[in-house]
Amino acid sequence: MADAIVVQKLRKQFGDLVAVDGISFQVTQGEIFSLLGPNGAGKSTTISMISTLLEPNSGEISVMGCSVRKDPMAVKAAIGVVPQEIAIYPDLSAQENLVFWGKMYGLRGDTLNRRVKDILEVIGLTDRQKGRSEHFSGGMKRRLNIGIALMHQPQVVIMDEPTVGIDPQSRRNILDGVKELNRQGMTVLYTTHYMEEAQELSDHIAIMDHGKVIACGTYPELIKIVGELDRVDLGLSVDPNLGIESLGKVDGVAKVSLEDGKISFLVQDSNLVLPRLFETASRNSFRITSVEIKEPNLEAVFLHLTGRALRD
């Protein structure tokens, strides 16, 4: 399969802050490719450069064979962008929003009317098409936000954290919708800081941190980075900050971090390391109140690569 998006040595700097630091990756046509990373990792800046909103300081981007720098209009025609914010006109109805955005992509007449009808069905707003979108629920607005990007049947859909701030049911609908789009042959570039979403959706995942791609590959390929390490989460009877130093020095602990009030460890063998952790806790006069042993996942990969939890 040919590449839908090729990013080479891309760099973007805002004053002294290097937001994107020479990253490279390829997205193959027909796949779902996720950029995973914490807030501030550079995902949205990367997306903005691919969707022609920001000009890179250096590097090259091509979308469906067209250079973003040399032929931005061709790139814009090939992509549909779902911004992180809900970018709709609240005082217009769902139908009026779709008509307007369709026209901005050059749709007219019967084609436009047909697409509006189709998209309203896809996003489940046919019954509410005449209502002003400001009265919609958060999930309905999110669906309209996505529908707008699909109006012109783009070859590549770029979605920037489309599930931020919505209820679990709407989130499920969106994730299913993304899979359906992909089944229809659309290439999807998806950014998220939820590792579960990246894990569920993606053919390939690039993990970003501090403007760099620190790992890229399929899910199994990324898990291999952690190797045979186990992940152990401990709850303590005291402030976890008090225990992290002593417990982190226990023999067999590869990485340690704080997450959601618990201490996360990457350990070589949980059967061997756990008794040592209990012994150290006892020696330091605090109790372990909960123990959770997990299979390695993307969270563990991120912890392994950065020494921090994904949500830090």
């Binding site: 022609t52 209009m73 970018a87 006109y89 005082d91 217009l92 050059g106 007219r108």
Partner: protein, 422 residues
């Protein structure tokens, strides 16, 4: 095609916004309407705007001239006490000037006219004399009416003197005898002629005051309308500047709503997207001005100037408000700053520009000059000039300044926005 789609979308949003609509149309008409009501009513088809008669006390110190055989002071007093002007002034007389002034200070009288002792002498000779009119400072219209009546009376006397001088000059030139009796004869005949002309010209109408709207050559019965036109023009200018800025503000609002960046991801050039915004600024103000002109004509019976002068003033107003709006808003970082800027800066500029003092008399000349430091002042100048007959040089000058300034502001603002969203 995309340009028209963008323009229609923005116009639609602008005219769906209740707050925007109320500021564009309701506020200027409401304020002008309240002022009209304060003056005594608004004109329906047959309605008249009535002015409460000004209470005037006259202290006539002029004993008259034995040589001339009359007292101009007494004639003026009689003229002001005439039945025909009783709907405008209610006159009482006093002998003491200080008592007359005290009556105004005490609020018993609206105005006091002091006729000096040398009034008759001055009128029949080349000397000057000063009439003193003291009035309640809140009585702007009433004082203006009294002034007009006095001016009309004095003009009549000046006419007599001119007629007399011309006659005597012609008599002397032909070597005919000139004596004191000739002066009297000329004066009497001139007065009789003026009186007969006045009676013929006005039919059943009272003698004295006729007030015309500046645009009209025909006298109108409603003296408020000329003032109303100026007040309405001031309100229209103020709110047109608000609309211009508010329209330009949609650029920042769309940026914050994320629809502007999203527009930039569509295959549409940034120049088209931002250009449409600028066009919408001008179109919105143009629609506002046309609607306000029509509605104010219907509601307040304001007779605006000639079509050509109104067109020039309107185009000037549209260009300056759209240009200034884009310029002003280009300095803002976010729409949250707009409240202070639009409420504070535009109000201050409006005040400096004289928009809220229009219709008040005795404004110092320095303030009138200061008005022209602001674009509002030039807009007001254009509209006031447009109320005069035809397209005069004042209107052409103001129009040129408005278009020039508007284009300059527009270019600076558009450049700033283009750089910001480059």
């Amino acid at each position: 095609m995309k340009l028209s789609t963008l323009i229609l979308k923005d116009l639609r949003r602008a005219f769906l916004n209740p707050f925007g609509l109320s500021m564009m149309f309701v506020a200027p008409l409401l304020i002008t309407g309240l002022i009209a009501l304060a003056f005594g009513g608004m004109g329906g088809e047959d309605a008249q705007v009535s002015i409460q008669a000004t209470r005037l006390v006259v202290a006539n110190l002029d004993p008259g001239s034995a040589q001339a055989g009359f007292s101009a002071g007494q004639l003026l007093t009689d003229f002001l006490m005439d039945e025909s002007v009783s709907n405008l002034v209610q006159v009482t007389s006093m002998d003491d000037a200080e008592a007359a002034k005290a009556a105004v200070l005490g609020g018993e009288q609206g105005a006091a006219l002091i006729i000096p002792a040398d009034f008759t002498t001055a009128l029949i000779s080349d000397k000057s004399s000063t009439l003193h009119l003291y009035h309640d400072p809140t009585l702007t219209i009433g004082a203006g009416i009294v002034r007009s009546l006095i001016a009309q009376f004095v003009d009549g006397f000046s006419g007599t003197r001119i007629a007399s001088d011309v006659t005597i000059s012609q008599f002397s030139g032909r070597g005919l005898p000139v004596d004191e009796g000739l002066h009297h004869q000329v004066a009497q005949e001139y007065t009789a002629w003026v009186t007969s002309m006045g009676e013929q010209g006005s039919g059943q109408d009272p003698i004295g005051l006729t007030i015309r709207t500046p645009a009209d050559t025909e006298p109108v019965e409603n003296p408020i309308q000329g003032i109303m036109a100026r007040i309405m023009a001031g309100m229209m200018i103020f709110f047109a500047f608000w609309t211009g800025a508010n329209s330009a503000l949609s650029i920042l609002r769309e940026d914050e709503e994320a629809t502007l960046p999203r527009l930039f991801t569509t295959p549409t050039s940034r120049q088209t997207i931002l250009g449409a915004k600028m066009i919408v600024c001008a179109l919105t103000v143009a629609i506002e001005v046309v609607v306000l002109l029509v509605l104010s004509s219907l509601l307040f019976r304001i007779e605006w100037g000639s079509p050509a002068s109104i067109a020039l003033a309107s185009v000037g107003l549209v260009v300056i408000t759209a240009g200034f709006g884009v310029f002003l808003i280009s300095f803002l970082k976010s729409s949250r700053q707009a409240g202070g800027v639009m409420g504070g800066a535009l109000t201050m500029l409006g005040m400096l520009g004289g928009l809220f003092t229009e219709g008040i008399q005795n404004i110092p000349a320095a303030f009138k000059t200061l008005n022209l430091v602001t674009p509002h002042g030039w807009a007001l100048k254009a509209w006031n000039a447009s109320l005069g007959p035809g397209v005069g040089p004042d209107l052409l000058l103001a129009f040129a300044v408005l278009v020039g300034l508007g284009a300059l502001f527009f270019a600076l603002g558009a450049r700033k926005f283009s750089r910001r969203f480059a």
